[in-house]
Amino acid sequence: MTTIDLSTSETPAKTVPARPPRRALDWKAETERFALLGAWMLLIAIFGMLMPESFLSWRNFSTMFGSQAVLVVLTLALLVPLTSGDFDLSGASVLTMSSMLIAVLNVREGWPIAPVILIALASGAVIGAVNAVFVLYFRIHSLIVTLGIGTFVNGLILWISQSQTISGISMDLVGWVIINRFLGIPLAFFYALLLAGILWYVLEFTIPGRKLLFVGRGREVSRLNGIAVDRVRAVSFIVSGLISAFAGVLYAGMTGSADPLSGLSLLLPAFAAAFLGATTISPGRFNAFGAVIAVYFLVTGITGLTMLGADAYVQNLFYGGALVIAVALSQLVRNRQPQDFS
C-alpha cells in the first residue's frame, strides 16, 4: 500500500453527509495547498529579476513547457498505480521500449507511423498487464515485480535495437510533438496538460477514479465495501503501462530518434515529481496537477541556474534539496503525521 498519510477524515467507509457543514477558511491548509505554486512563482520572480531579458522571455517559457512534456506524462503514468497503492518501476523501461519500437518499425522496417504508434501503445498495455498478473495472481510486491519486468524489458530493448541508437523517425510524428505549436508552445505540452486534466477528472469525479483512491487508502476496507480490489489494481497497472508508452511516443517525437538507454534515466525524476506533487493542490494525495506543477517548479530552478552559469552539481543540489525540503516542510505543516509506505 502506498499512501502519503492515512487521514481518518477521508476514510472511505465513513458516511459522507449530503450537505457538509460550511467551515471557516483553513489558512494553514490553504497555504499548504498552494505553497509549491507560490515557491514556483517566487523562483520565476528571482530569476526574472536577475535575467529580465532572457529568463522572462516567452521563448524561454515555451521552451521549458514543451521540453518537459515527456517527464510530465511519465510522472502521470506512475501516479496511477501510486494512487492505488502500488509502485511501477517499469515505467521508464516501457517508455524506452515504446520509443525503440517506433524507431525499429518505422525507420528500419519502413512501416507507416500511425500503426507503429498503436503497436507502441499496445506494448505498454501488455507490459502493464504482465505486471498485474505477477503482482495479483502470485501476490508478489509490486516493487519486486515491476523491477524485474522493467529489467527484462531493458534486455528486450537492447536485443531489438542491437544496442544501437536509431535516428530518422517520421517527421510527421516529430511535427505533431515538437514542431507544430499553439501559442508558441510545442503541442507535446498540451497533450501532457490534457492528460493531466483527464486524470484529475477521472480521479476526482468518476466512480472508477474514486475506487482507485479508496483501494490505495485501504485495500481491506475497500474489499469489505464491495470493490473488486484486484481488478482496480490490474487496471491501474495497464493504464500506467499505456501512459508510459505514450510518453515513449512523445520521447521519440521529441528527439526524432531512439536509443536503448537514455529514457531509463527519467524514472527517478518522475518519481521525484510525483512525490513533490503530492505536497501541493491536494496535499497528502498523489494528484495530476500537483505533479505538473512539481515538474515545472524543478525545471524552472534548473533552467534559471543553468542560465546563470551554475555547474552541473549545483543543479543536482537544487533538485534533491528542493524535493526533500518541500516534503519536509509539508510534513511540518501536517504535524509530522507518519508516512505509510507499507
Binding site: T63, M64, S67, I178, G256, S257, G263, S265, P269, T306
Partner: protein, 365 residues
C-alpha cells in the same frame, strides 16, 4: 576533482593568454580542415615485425567498458578480426558496465594464464587498481585501448596505452566552427568531465578558438554521462535563450547530438545554429545526411581495432609503444556523408588502406 578542474581552467587561461597570435587565422583553420578531408593513407606507427612468430601461442583478453555500447562492439570485432589474421587467441570479456564483471574478467585472465590484459573503449584502469596489481604479479602485460588523450599520462598500473588524438579532434572542431561562421564563432561546447579524456579535449577546443579569435565568445556546458538524457537538452536550451548569438554547438561526443538537436528545434534555432561533433557514430552520420548535424569527425573502428592490436603485440613482443593510436580522423559533412553508407555504419567511407598497411607491417604477406 576540483583541483583537476581548477588546474584545467588555469591551463586554458594560461594557454589562451600565451597563445601566439596567428598571422592569418582563416588560412590556418582552413589548413587544419583540409588535412582531415583527404582520404586516409596508412602511415606505419613503428618498425615492421614478424607478428606471427612473436605471437605464437600467446593469449590476450580484452575487457571493454560495456558491450551494450555499439562503439565497443565494433571495436572488439575489429580487434578479434586482426587477432584472427595473425593467429593468436583473443578473448573479449563480455559485460554490461558492471565493476564486478570487470573484476571477474581480470581474475579470468590470471587463472587462464593469459599473456596480456587489455582495458578497452573508455574503461579507466584506476577502478581496477588492486586487480591489475595482482595481474602484474602474475606476469601479465597490461594495456589500455582508446582511453587516454595523447597529452595524458597513463595510470602507473598499465604498461602500454594506445592513446587517441582527442586534442587534435578538438582543434579541428574549433577550426570548423571558425571557418563556417566566417571568423565569427560564438560557440557552446558540451563536455563531460567525468569521461577521462574530456578535459584535454575541451581544453584543446577552447585554446584553439582563443588562438584563432581571441575576442570570440565561447561557453562550456559540462554534463556527466549519466545525465545526458536529462540535462543536455535543457542546458543547451538555456544557453541558447540566454545568448541568442550562439551559432555553433560542439558536443564533444557525437551521441550527445540526439539531445542537442531537439534543443535547437524547440528554441527555433534549427538552421541558424549548427552542430559539429566527434566519433562518426552511425546514427549521427544519418542525422548529418538528413541535415540535422553539420559535421562529424569520424574514426574508422576497423582501422582502430587493427591499430589497437598492433600496440598490444608491440607490448608483448618487447617493441616500443606507439605514440598514439594509428587512426586518422576524417571529416564527414554533406559532401561525403553518403560514403559512410545508407544507413551509415562504423567502417564505410574511410577506405581500406589500413588492411594492406598493417599486413605489410606485421610481415603477413
Amino acid at each position: 576533482m576540483q583541483k583537476l578542474l581548477t588546474g584545467a581552467f588555469l591551463a586554458v587561461c594560461t594557454y589562451g593568454m600565451t597563445a601566439p597570435a596567428m598571422a592569418d587565422p582563416m588560412a590556418d583553420a582552413k589548413a587544419i580542415i583540409a588535412e582531415h578531408e583527404k582520404m586516409p593513407v596508412f602511415e606505419a606507427p613503428g618498425d615492421a615485425f614478424d607478428a606471427k612468430a612473436c605471437m605464437k601461442d600467446k593469449k590476450v583478453l580484452s575487457i571493454p567498458i560495456s558491450m551494450t555500447i555499439p562503439f565497443n562492439v565494433e571495436l572488439q570485432k575489429a580487434m578479434a578480426s586482426a587477432a584472427d589474421e595473425i593467429g593468436f587467441t583473443y578473448t573479449t570479456w563480455d559485460n554490461q558496465l558492471k565493476v564486478d564483471q570487470w573484476i571477474q574478467g581480470v581474475s579470468q585472465a590470471i587463472s587462464q594464464k593469459y599473456d596480456a590484459l587489455d582495458i578497452a573503449g573508455g574503461l579507466n584502469p584506476e577502478v581496477l587498481g588492486p586487480q591489475l596489481s595482482e595481474a602484474r604479479a602474475a606476469d601479465l602485460k597490461i594495456s589500455t585501448t582508446h582511453l587516454y588523450d595523447v597529452t595524458q599520462t597513463q595510470f602507473g598500473g598499465v604498461d602500454y596505452s594506445a592513446k587517441v588524438d582527442f586534442s587534435g579532434a578538438g582543434k579541428l572542431l574549433a577550426a570548423w566552427a571558425y571557418v563556417k561562421t566566417e571568423g565569427k564563432p560564438n560557440v557552446l561546447i558540451v563536455g563531460s568531465s567525468d569521461v577521462l579524456p574530456s578535459i584535454p579535449f575541451v581544453k584543446a577546443i577552447q585554446a584553439e578558438l582563443t588562438a584563432l579569435c581571441p575576442e570570440c565568445k565561447q561557453k562550456h556546458l559540462d554534463v556527466p554521462v549519466s545525465e545526458w538524457a536529462t540535462k543536455i537538452q535543457p542546458g543547451v536550451q538555456s544557453a541558447l535563450i540566454s545568448d541568442p548569438g550562439i551559432n555553433f554547438v560542439l558536443p564533444i561526443y557525437d551521441s550527445m547530438s540526439q539531445f542537442v538537436f531537439p534543443a535547437l528545434r524547440i528554441t527555433g534555432s534549427e538552421g541558424a545554429v549548427k552542430i559539429a561533433s566527434f566519433n562518426g557514430t552511425p546514427f549521427v552520420l544519418d542525422m548529418l545526411r538528413e541535415g540535422q548535424v553539420n559535421m562529424d569527425i569520424g574514426e574508422s573502428l576497423g582501422w582502430a581495432g587493427y591499430a589497437a592490436i598492433d600496440n598490444i603485440m608491440r607490448m608483448i613482443c618487447g617493441l616500443p609503444s606507439v605514440a598514439k593510436l594509428n587512426v586518422p580522423l576524417l571529416i564527414f559533412d554533406e559532401k561525403n556523408v553518403k560514403t559512410a553508407g545508407i544507413p551509415a555504419n562504423f567502417n564505410d567511407g574511410y577506405g581500406d588502406a589500413y588492411l594492406g598497411g598493417f599486413r605489410k607491417l606485421w610481415k603477413l604477406n
